[in-house]
Symmetry: C2
Subunit: 238 residues, 2 copies
DNA sequence: CGTCAGCTTGATTACTTTCAATTGTTGTGG
DNA sequence: CCACAACAATTGAAAGTAATCAAGCTGACG
């Protein structure tokens, strides 16, 4: 039972070994303060951590696991906005702008997520410039990514977008130890929801990329055989 | 000569009548501080205020005029990211993340833009929580818009996107006094760069919308005849 | 008055989606 | 452990949508 294993050993925030991108510049005391009313929750694959449109009452910090953030279009179609993994925070945007959550967060695998109280977080934010600064850095990063993603979707062909999605998955989740197998196993329909296309087109395109020896399949997982060619095909020429 | 008229009367920041979305919570003294080394510049239609990729050495604050922010895709095609008008700031994202400008800013008409020194801004930011807070609010707003725009481009048809673009233009620039004529005159190719399509398709679609009595043309400008139907066609059902 | 940029229209082509049908996989309860 | 249900992947054919290419038009401006 993987869930049992996860239950062990969730340290208090001040001893958390995750290098959180939001709390990295806090002192031990500050971390302890923010974690005062920490609640750790477990989610199985597919379970929802929060729903788009619902009231935001806390900050989620991923202790273990991968999470996908998605948003519904007017027509009911899902669009995956971004991913988050160990050490990353969720829902900070909603807290900062005092809006409802703008996206739905779903566990992609067994997850352990800590919920930090809105009050403690906001309190510390007011007093601590470096926390506000880190929040700004996070926002600028997300904004940059969102704008880049926008241009990609608007201008690239489906094939390019799918190649780029594979690169994104590799960068976000890394390879399985010692291989070039992307460590996250997504469904074709999830890949479609990132690239902004349909399941069928993803299947056909992946089959072509496979025939072209750019990728290979290992069960549900995807092995990258030729990363540089994939980058080229994705229209990424840096 | 409109440019001559604009030259008159640019007040120091502490007496600026624009309700800036970034400086609204500053005191007079703080505004004076930030405006210490203010330089006001004039741009004619089509002139570039800053280029994507160039080093960011100051904060631009629009005193008069409208500006478009665009970004190049890998294939060289332009994508208009957003617009800005009187009172809005440009380039704050680059300053905050210490990156180069991520977009190119072009004057859409006669503009007067004040350049505030990076040092004074950053200095005040460090000392003044309410300024940092306003920056956070601005970032969350832009992020929300970017994500919404992403979903629109990814999921809507060209027709929906063009309808939505017209609504966006109306919301951003308002009508000409006492009419339903969108006050900004964009080229078809600019509209295409917002909606993520081609000039020809914009022309064809606008012609159809015209035939359907949703819009009308007044020279280069577009008159909205039926806003609620346009909203519906844009897939905006709030 | 010529030129240049923007606008318009038509015809063709390419790409993607949609629909439909089939097979494969996984997890659950009897 | 098997049967079954639910979900995921696959394949093919048909339909639609928008991009591309090519050509002519219009209006502003030096």
């Amino acid at each position: 039972m993987q869930i049992k294993r996860l239950c062990y050993d969730i340290p208090p925030c001040e001893h958390c070994t995750n290098t959180s991108n939001l709390f990295c510049s806090l002192t031990k005391n500050e971390k302890a303060y923010i974690g005062k009313s920490k609640k750790s929750n477990f989610y199985k694959k597919g379970q929802v951590i929060f729903y788009e449109g619902n009231h935001a009452n806390g900050l989620f910090c991923i202790y273990r696991g991968k999470v996908k953030l998605s948003k519904l279009g007017e027509n009911g179609k899902n669009q995956i906005i971004r991913f988050a993994k160990e050490g990353e925070v969720l829902g900070y945007r909603a807290l900062l702008s005092n809006d409802p959550y703008h996206a739905t967060a779903v566990a992609m695998e067994e997850c352990c997520v800590c919920l930090l109280s809105k009050e403690h977080f906001m309190e510390l934010l007011r007093k601590n410039f470096s926390l506000a600064w880190d929040a700004i850095q996070l926002l600028t990063r997300d904004l940059k990514n969102a704008e880049q993603h926008l241009i990609d979707v608007a201008q690239k062909t489906v094939r390019e977008r799918i190649c780029e999605t594979l690169v994104l998955l590799k960068n976000t989740f890394d390879y399985d130890e010692g291989t070039t197998t992307i460590s996250a196993a997504l469904t074709r329909s999830e890949i479609a929801d990132i690239a902004g296309t349909t399941t069928e087109t993803v299947i056909r395109t992946l089959a072509i990329l496979n025939r072209e020896k750019l990728i290979e399949f290992d069960g549900k997982k995807i092995i990258i055989l030729n990363l540089s060619k994939l980058l080229f095909e994705a229209g990424i020429h840096d």
